[in-house]
C-alpha cells in the first residue's frame, strides 16, 4: 500500500527536466526545454514576481517616494551589503535580499548582491551585452592562469546569434575582434560631448575604440509584443513596456506559452539526489522556504542555473557516498577560482563648450571602450589581460551647483538650466582566476532553513592592483587629448563582489581532475547534470557576461536533448 502511494507521489513529482533558478540562465534553460516539448520544472528559491503586474514601482513619479528615492540610514544599517549596489533605492529595494535573512561569512571583504524572486537579477541587471572574443577563450592557455577552455569562440558563435535574435540586443556592428559583432537591433547614439571624445581620443589612440554601448534595451519591437524601449531609464524597477530583456519579460513567458512549464516559487533546492547504482542524478530535494517542508522532485536531466555562488553551494551541499566533497567534485576544484570584475577605478571630468547641444530622453546606455590592453600589438609588462570601460557624458543639472554661491531669482534660474558637460566612466577589469580565491560551506553557521552558509574568501591580487594603476593613467590621457578638464581618476578600493559579475567556482575544462564540467557545461562524472551560469566560466574576459550565460545555456540544452535521444543521458 505504502509503496503504491509512494509511486503515485513519485510520478506526480516527476518531470522531464528540472531547472534550478529562474534568472538569466534558468529562464533560457526553461524556454529551450519547454520549446522542445520537455515537461519542465523550474524551481525558484524566492517568491513570485510576475511580469508587469508586480512592477509596483515602475510608474511612480520620483517625488512620490517617501524619501524621494533616497536610502534611509536605518535601511542602510540593516542592509550594509545590498545597499552598496548602485541600483538599490526606494524603487528597487524590494528586489534585493535582506542581508540579515541570507547570511554568509566574509573571510575577506566580498559584497554578495542577490535578488531572490522569479527572474532573479535579470530584472535589475545593467543590460550590457558583449560577446567574448576569440582571444578570451585562449587567454588561460596563453598566460598559464586558470585552465584551458574546452571550447573556442567558433563553438559559441552560433549560439550567441541564436540568443541575441530572441533577446533583442541593440548595438552597432563595429567590426572589433575584442567584441565580435552580433545580431543587433538598431544602435543608440553618442551625444555631442561623447562624439567629440571619440573623435579626438581615437585620433591620438587609434586602438582605443569608443563605441555606443550594446544593450538589451529594445530599440525596435521584439518577439511577442516586447518593447520598444521608451527611454525612461527606470529599467531597474522592471519595465511595464517590456523594453528590455529579462527572464520575466521574455524567456519565462515563452516557456509558459508551450504549456510545458511548471514554475514553483519559494523552493530552495537543498541538494541533487545521486543514485550510485545508476551512476547519475535522479532528482532534487527541495525545502519549502515558507513551511520548511522537504519534497523530492525527479527528472531525466537537471540544469543548475542558480547564479554562480548558489549553484556552487548546491553542488557542494550535494554529498553522497560517491561524492563526499560535493557532486562531481573529484578534482577538488569546486568552489575555487572565483572571479569578479574589477570596477575599482572611476573617472570624472568636465568639458567646456558644446553648450548649444543637448539631448532628449534618458538613454539607458552609454559609451563603451572595449579592451585594448594586451590585445593586438599592445603588450603590457606590468599586468596580464585587460579592461573595458563604460561611461557617459551628460549636461549637469542643479546638483552640480547646489551649494555654489548665490541666492534668489538668478541663482534659481541658473540651477534650472542645463549646465556644462560632465564625463563619468568606470572601468571593468578582468580578474585572474586563482585557486585560493574560493568559497566553501560553513556547517557551523546555518541559515534559517538549517542549511550551511558560504564562507567567501576572495581578494584582489597583484595583477588587479597593477591594472588599476594603468587605468588611472590611460583614461585621463584620453580625456586630456580631447580637451577635458578637472580630470579625476580614483580607486574606490571596493571589495570584489560588488561588480555583481561573480564567475568561476564550477569551471569547465578538458580534464576532469582540474575542472567540474566538460565543454557542454555537463558535469564530467554525472552526465545528466549541467551547470550553465557564471560559475562555469574558466575565465571571465573583460566583457559584461550575461549574454555568454544565455548562449552557453541554450547550447547546453541543445546538446542535452541530443544526448537524451542517443540514450547517453
Amino acid at each position: 500500500m505504502s509503496v503504491n502511494i509512494n509511486n503515485v507521489a513519485k510520478k506526480k513529482n516527476t518531470y522531464d527536466a528540472i531547472v534550478v533558478g529562474s534568472g538569466m540562465s534558468g529562464g533560457w534553460a526553461a524556454k529551450e526545454f519547454c520549446e522542445k516539448k520537455m515537461k519542465t520544472l523550474v524551481l525558484e528559491r524566492g517568491g513570485r514576481y510576475n511580469h508587469i503586474e508586480d512592477y509596483t514601482t515602475s510608474m511612480v513619479d520620483p517625488w512620490k517616494f517617501p524619501h524621494r528615492n533616497n536610502m534611509t540610514e536605518a535601511e542602510k544599517e540593516a542592509n550594509p551589503i545590498q545597499s552598496k549596489c548602485y541600483a538599490w533605492n526606494e524603487g528597487t529595494k524590494h528586489l534585493f535580499v535582506k542581508d540579515q535573512e541570507h547570511p554568509y561569512q566574509q573571510v575577506k571583504p566580498f559584497d554578495w548582491v542577490r535578488g531572490y524572486h522569479v527572474g532573479g537579477k535579470s530584472i535589475m541587471w545593467a543590460r550590457q551585452c558583449y560577446r567574448l572574443g576569440e582571444h578570451d577563450f585562449r587567454s588561460n592557455s596563453e598566460d598559464g592562469h586558470g585552465n584551458e577552455w574546452p571550447i573556442g569562440y567558433q563553438d559559441l558563435a552560433p549560439w550567441y546569434s541564436y540568443v541575441e535574435r530572441f533577446a533583442g540586443i541593440s548595438g552597432n556592428r563595429d567590426g572589433l575582434p575584442q567584441i565580435p559583432d552580433g545580431e543587433f537591433l538598431p544602435p543608440m547614439e553618442l551625444n555631442a560631448a561623447e562624439k567629440h571624445f571619440k573623435q579626438k581620443s581615437e585620433a591620438r589612440f587609434p586602438n582605443r575604440k569608443i563605441i555606443i554601448g550594446r544593450t538589451a534595451n529594445h530599440t525596435a519591437p521584439v518577439g511577442e509584443g516586447r518593447g520598444p524601449c521608451r527611454y525612461r531609464h527606470l529599467c531597474h524597477r522592471g519595465c511595464p513596456f517590456s523594453g528590455y530583456f529579462s527572464s520575466n519579460s521574455a524567456t519565462l513567458p515563452a516557456a509558459e506559452r508551450t504549456g510545458k512549464l511548471t514554475l514553483k516559487t519559494d523552493s530552495i533546492v537543498h541538494s541533487i539526489i545521486y543514485d550510485e547504482k545508476l551512476g547519475k542524478a535522479t532528482g532534487v530535494r527541495v525545502i519549502d522556504a515558507l513551511t520548511k517542508e522537504t519534497t523530492e522532485y525527479y527528472a531525466k536531466v537537471i540544469f543548475v542555473c542558480a547564479a554562480t555562488l548558489n549553484s556552487t553551494w548546491l553542488l557542494l551541499n550535494s554529498t553522497s557516498n560517491r561524492f563526499q566533497n560535493g557532486l562531481g567534485n573529484d578534482g577538488g576544484v569546486l568552489g575555487h577560482y572565483l572571479v569578479d570584475h574589477n570596477y575599482r577605478v572611476r573617472v570624472s571630468a568636465k568639458l567646456d563648450g558644446f553648450l548649444d547641444r543637448f539631448y532628449s530622453g534618458r538613454r539607458p546606455n552609454g559609451f563603451y571602450i572595449p579592451r585594448f590592453r594586451n590585445f593586438g600589438s599592445d603588450k603590457q609588462k606590468d599586468f596580464l589581460r585587460g579592461y573595458a570601460t563604460y561611461g557617459e557624458c551628460t549636461r549637469s543639472n542643479w546638483s552640480a551647483e547646489a551649494t555654489s554661491e548665490g541666492l534668489g531669482a538668478d541663482f534659481k534660474k541658473m540651477l534650472s538650466e542645463p549646465g556644462g558637460w560632465n564625463f563619468f566612466a568606470v572601468a571593468q577589469g578582468e580578474m585572474l582566476p586563482h585557486f585560493d580565491n574560493k568559497v566553501s560551506l560553513n556547517h557551523d553557521k546555518k541559515d534559517q532553513w538549517g542549511l550551511p552558509t558560504l564562507d567567501i574568501d576572495c581578494e584582489w591580487k597583484a595583477n588587479e592592483d597593477a591594472m588599476v594603476k594603468d587605468i588611472m593613467k590611460t583614461l585621463p590621457e584620453m580625456l586630456e587629448v580631447a580637451g577635458f578638464k578637472d580630470i579625476y581618476a580614483w580607486d574606490s578600493h571596493q571589495a570584489p563582489g560588488l561588480g555583481i559579475h561573480e564567475m568561476g567556482t564550477c569551471r569547465m575544462g578538458k580534464d576532469p581532475k582540474t575542472s567540474m564540467l566538460n565543454g557542454w557545461n555537463q558535469v564530467h562524472t554525472v552526465k545528466n547534470v549541467f551547470v550553465t551560469d557564471g560559475s562555469s566560466l574558466p575565465s571571465q574576459g573583460s566583457q559584461n557576461p550575461s549574454v555568454t550565460f544565455m548562449a552557453l545555456t541554450a547550447r547546453a540544452v541543445d546538446y542535452a536533448m541530443k544526448e537524451m535521444k542517443k540514450r547517453n543521458i
Binding site: P62, H67, R68, E189, Y231, F241, K412
Partner: protein, 178 residues
Amino acid sequence: MNRREILQRLAVISGGMIIAPSALTALDHWKNPALALLPNAEKAPLLAEMADIIIPTTDTPGAKAAQVDQYILLMLKDCTPAAEVAKFWSGLQAFEDNFQKQYGTTFLVASADKRLEYLQKLDKGRDPFFVGFKGLAVAGYFTSEIGMTQAQAYLPLPGTYEADIPLKPGQKSWADYF
C-alpha cells in the same frame, strides 16, 4: 497625478497595451509621513523662510510652496547620519543666536532686507552650516513635484531618445531621476 490618469497615460503611450491595475497598487501604498510628527517640526517655519530666500517664487513657485522645510525635516530624521543631524541643529541654533545678537530680533520677525543681508553674508563667507543647509534646500526643491515639473522639464515617458540636438532657447534641464 492619480491612478486613473496614469493608467490612461500608459494606455496612450503603450498603444493600448493592457496593464494590470495591480501594477499600480503601490501608488496607494505611499502616503506622506505624518509631517507634524517630525522631530523639531516647530522649526519648519524658520526653515521655510530661509529656503525661500535661496529659491524664491519667480515665474515658478519657490521653496516654501514646494514644502522644502518638510523635506529637510524628513531627511534629517531618516536619511542623515546622527552626528550630522546633531551638527545641523546646533548650527541652526547658532544661526538664530547670531541673528538675534546682530539685529536684536528674531529671524522670523525681522524685515526681508535684514534676512537677505544676513544670508548673503553667510553665503559669501561660506559658513559651513549655511552651505550645508543650502545643499539640502536645493535638493529638496529640485526633487519636489514643483521643482521637477515646473522649475525643470519633466519627461515621464520620453518615448524616443535624441542623442544630439540643438539646445532650444529657454530650454530647462531635464528633471533627471532613477
